[in-house]
């Protein structure tokens, strides 16, 4: 949220004392009549911004202005107007963008949750073109190693892959991240992104078999993992019949049901399958019967209704959803 606080080093020379700035009149913020109460940080910040306003309004495209934007950004990386002006300066002064990339990297290390940094990074990468590919993939990897669900980093990485390429290792990268945290929804999303869009993999049809195996293994390890179940369903997007008929899906459901633990998503998946035409056999009936905890629960010959009843009990925060699901089931013959 806030900008990175500079070291309170006594060797920072205020701008008003720097000879190279002596010709500039700083412009105070026009924010109403309340006087600014000086506290250390606030004083330095106000001074830098007052001088920034001076060069910004004068449209001074100079190297001292460029340095000043770096100072302003280090004090408050969220100020988008400073970033805009910096881009104008970079263009006008024809600055080496490789150097600029390093600047962004330094700023990002303290401030990565900030739209401006990512947009600026993309702007620089766009200008550098294909040669930027590896550095951009490395940069996002670095950020993701600190926060593996970082939304901006993932967005930037997707842009890089689509614009500059580098798909070859991406599925492996997803697997690495999932090995570290199988619950990482961003990594699952990226996996889907790769199998559906990579020019090297042949699309979802070609990848389905291996991906189902991968996902089932993940589900068995942690059946309470929402992302893996959604991913499995996604592998059969627009292919309901294949989904219903895939014995791997139904057998992993049965396997987990029999453990009598972490079966929430199994039940909802089974419910979906039944609604799509799946007909559970005696093994399923027995396994579900074994889950019914309360004698007060209505005995129901309709297995789908029983599943809904169980879900109403074990997922009470979403009871209304399960009641609605039950109401949507076709009436028993």
């Amino acid at each position: 949220m806030a900008g990175k606080i500079e070291d309170e080093s006594n060797d920072r020379v205020p701008l008003r004392l720097r000879p190279e700035w002596s010709d500039v009149t700083p412009i105070p913020q026009n924010n109403g009549p309340n006087p600014v109460v000086p506290i250390n940080y606030s004083e330095e910040f106000s001074e830098v911004m007052d001088y920034f306003r001076a060069v910004y309004f004068a449209n001074e495209l100079s190297s001292r202005a460029l340095s000043l934007t770096a100072e302003a950004i280090s004090l408050n990386a969220g100020n988008y107007t400073v970033w805009h002006f910096r881009r104008s300066l970079l263009e006008s002064l024809k600055v080496d963008l490789h150097v600029e990339r390093e600047f962004v990297e330094r700023v990002a290390s303290g401030n990565s949750k900030n739209y401006q940094i990512w947009h600026h990074r993309r702007w620089v990468a766009e200008k550098l073109g294909l040669e930027a590919r590896n550095s951009e993939l490395e940069f996002t990897k670095k950020i993701l190693s600190i926060d593996a669900k970082h939304y901006h980093a993932w967005s930037h990485r997707q842009w890089v892959l689509q614009t500059l390429g580098g798909w070859e290792d991406e599925l492996n990268y997803c697997s690495e991240l999932l090995a570290e945290d199988i619950f990482n929804n961003s990594a699952w999303n990226q996996r889907y992104f790769v199998i559906t869009r990579s020019p090297f993999l042949g699309g979802i049809k070609a990848m389905r078999e291996s991906e189902v195996l991968y996902t089932i293994e993940a589900i068995i390890s942690y059946p309470e993992n929402e992302s893996s179940w959604r991913y499995l369903r996604g592998l059969y997007k627009d292919e309901a019949t294949l989904y219903v008929n895939d014995t791997q899906v139904s057998s992993v459901c049965l396997k987990i049901l029999r453990t009598k633990s972490n079966y929430l998503f199994v039940l909802s998946t089974l419910l979906d399958l039944i609604c799509l035409g799946y007909q559970p056999n005696e093994d399923f009936r027995d396994a579900i019967e074994a889950l019914r905890t309360s004698d007060n629960e209505e005995q129901d010959s309709d297995i789908a209704r029983t599943i809904c009843s169980i879900l109403e009990q074990v997922d009470p925060i979403r009871v209304n959803y399960w009641v609605w699901r039950k109401s949507r089931l076709p009436q028993a013959a």
Partner: protein
């Protein structure tokens, strides 16, 4: 459970408005226009908008407008679609939309639509479904939605729909409650909610509620009061809000209050800020908490303000 300490929140917001020298104020000065929207809408919802000087606010807003029609985050800041919507929303709160040249603002936004139907945030070209929502919401408030290519805008939004029923920032981007609010809100205003798989999305959204009653923005993330708005308004727009536990969510939001000093934080015991105060109160509004005026889930403005714009003479 505890109550909403409405009066303390009002005092908190008014004190933030005044304290221009605080650290928070100083580092957020570039997005003061958003801050104004969060603070003033909250005051309106709590029935205290009249404590603010209309003329001071309106003249400050107008001083943030640029020749091309867009508004900056504060005086001396470049125009951006984000602050343009906030400016229009705040003017709407005060029933002062007539002070702007609506065509000028419209031209600015129309100029930001791209070939594929998406919208850029400003001349620097960042694309995000947030901006699609902003364009559609803003132009609708100005009665000029027909000036953009709505079909293409809708097509682009739908291209960001994921297999889990949710929406991301760009095609293929991870489903995220904030982005979902933007896409569903945009589609609602554009009259294209039929393109949303409401059952699938509704389930994804109601799965955001965790044991504590709070809502997260994506699977396996922590709950945050701001999702009380984004998830909740989305559920209301697709008519599935009864799929979450309202009581538990209310309790979570109330637990995020600073009952001594006012303000609401992202989760219990954290520091408060205006952003989360607004989202907490707006969430309570959607949950019909007594003493909070109703808010429109698509326009994110009080219902009486929206009615005034669309249903009066």
């Amino acid at each position: 459970m505890g109550d909403l300490v409405a009066e303390k929140h009002v005092q908190y917001i008014l004190s933030v408005q005044k304290k221009k020298d605080s650290f928070e104020s100083v580092v957020m000065e570039h997005l003061r226009m958003n801050g104004a929207y969060w603070g003033l809408t909250t005051l309106h919802l709590l029935g205290k908008l009249d404590t603010v000087d209309v003329h001071e606010v309106v003249s400050w807003i107008m001083s943030c407008q640029h020749d091309e029609g867009g508004f900056g985050g504060n005086v001396g800041h470049d125009p951006h679609i984000l602050y343009t919507l906030s400016a229009v929303q705040v003017l709407a709160l005060f029933n002062k939309l007539d002070v702007i040249d609506a065509d000028k603002v419209t031209n600015y936004i129309v100029g930001l639509q791209n070939e594929d139907g998406s919208f850029s945030g400003d001349i620097w070209g960042e694309v995000d479904t947030r901006f699609s929502y902003i364009a559609i919401c803003c132009l609708s408030l100005l009665h000029r939605l027909d000036r953009i290519n709505v079909d293409k805008a809708v097509k682009y939004i739908i291209s960001c729909q994921n297999m889990d029923g949710g929406f991301g920032c760009t095609p293929g981007g991870e489903s995220h409650a904030g982005q979902i609010f933007c896409c569903v809100g945009a589609l609602a205003i554009a009259g294209s909610l039929d393109l949303v798989d409401k059952d699938l999305l509704g389930w994804w959204l109601c799965e955001r509620q965790v044991k504590s009653g709070g809502l997260n923005g994506r699977p396996e993330k922590l709950p945050d009061v701001c999702y009380s708005w984004w998830v909740l308004s989305s559920l209301i727009m697709i008519d599935r809000v009864h799929w979450i536990s309202k009581e538990k969510l209310i309790k979570f939001i109330l637990d995020c209050q600073d009952t001594d000093n006012g303000g609401i934080s992202d989760r219990p015991d954290d520091a408060v800020d205006v952003f989360h105060t607004y989202f907490g109160v707006a969430g309570l509004s959607l949950l019909e908490y007594p003493g909070v005026k109703p808010i429109d889930p698509a326009y994110a403005l009080p219902v009486e303000v929206v009615n005034r714009i669309f249903f009066s003479k």
